[in-house]
Subunit: 223 residues, 2 copies
């Protein structure tokens, strides 16, 4: 195989890796969206669907890892290519855990639906929206090597964090006012924590993107 | 540099990477232990120490990542060496997040200490013990390439999961019986969730070890 051919082959493989990783992100996001829709619409069928529907994402997780290792072993990439493949390994783990968090949300929704609903879902739908935006933006930033978009994900995490604190306060006052709501309120509390963690995974991805593009480590600048 | 010299140099660098990763694990574990001791001993000074003491672990996190990228770029490792370096990148992330979880625990302990204590800390000290054992065993398994030890970590995660469920039940009944305990009980609930996540990180590490040693993916066998 000529050098030129080798390089072209490598770039094609790298493009395919990105496509598969985006597909993985799409699946993860779809599962989160379904889990949140299940609580908004009080839909036990959707709960069940999320609980049992993780085969595709798990297969893709293994495939993406496999592609990364092959690229590293066969092409011995350097600099930004090396960083983007190692980033793909890490992003792949993050996305798999986002898929697991969709299951955790669905489990909490399943329990929540066994009680009369709380008056309102506090800020949970809003948290879900932000977490999903962050995830989508972080993946777009990876594919486009877009530092500014990655940075915007880091900024949104503060917003999500503030909502989480508000949700916590709202739910505690529900529980204190009416101890009959303790159990369903706890499930909403857990759901809000799972959504926060989805935002954390998006943040991890955004940090990996910034490192990949700039080789500059932003992770502990504010410590 | 002769090939022989190059190989020896690579092996030395790999050993140093492992040493630094173990050091990182030691720091993460120490911070978790301090956070748990803070709740057991009701010690606000220890809370503060955990909240502000993350400089060393964050520096080490950057250093380990840096060593991994240099090893990948300069030595173009193959097979088990390649897998062990990529595993180190992932383990490094897991350990950094364990350090972050120690901060989350300390935050919850800080709030918990503002209330009269619950009668007992339910099974939280026991959960902490198991999570820390899992973390230590997972890292030992990495260094020794010990599949059996890695497998034992996966098994312990079920025990931790069962304790978490028991803690949840105990705390809910505290809250329902005496709504005055809602706020401190919620903080204990969050602490138990953070400990569960430390166990999840240990599980991730153990799975990486099994993949590293056997090149066999155990992650989704039971799905």
């Amino acid at each position: 195989m000529s050098l030129d051919h080798h390089v072209r082959h490598f770039q094609e493989e790298l493009e395919q890796l990105k496509t598969r990783l985006l597909e993985m992100g799409g699946l993860a996001e779809e599962r989160v969206r379904a889990a949140v829709r299940a609580v908004v619409n009080r839909d036990p069928v959707l709960v069940e669907k999320v609980l049992t529907g993780d085969v595709a994402i798990n297969q893709l997780h293994i495939e993406v890892d496999d592609r990364c290792f092959k690229l590293l072993a066969l092409h011995q990439p350097m600099a930004v290519d090396l960083r983007s493949i190692v980033a793909a390994v890490k992003i792949n783990s993050d996305l798999e855990r986002v898929g697991d968090l969709a299951v955790n949300i669905a489990e909490a929704v399943g329990r929540y639906l066994q009680h009369p609903p709380l008056q309102e879902l506090v800020d949970i739908p809003r948290m879900a929206e932000i977490a999903q935006d962050m995830l989508r933006d972080a993946l777009d930033a990876y594919v486009r090597h877009d530092m500014a978009l990655a940075q915007s994900v880091l900024n949104k995490d503060d917003e999500l964090d503030a909502l989480k604190t508000g949700v916590f306060r709202d739910l505690v006052s529900h529980m204190v006012r009416d101890p009959g709501t303790i159990e369903p309120a706890l499930d909403l509390l857990l759901i809000s924590r799972h959504l926060e963690r989805i935002g954390d995974h998006a943040t991890n991805i955004a940090e990996d993107v910034i490192f990949m593009v700039s080789a500059k480590d932003v992770r502990h600048h504010q410590d």
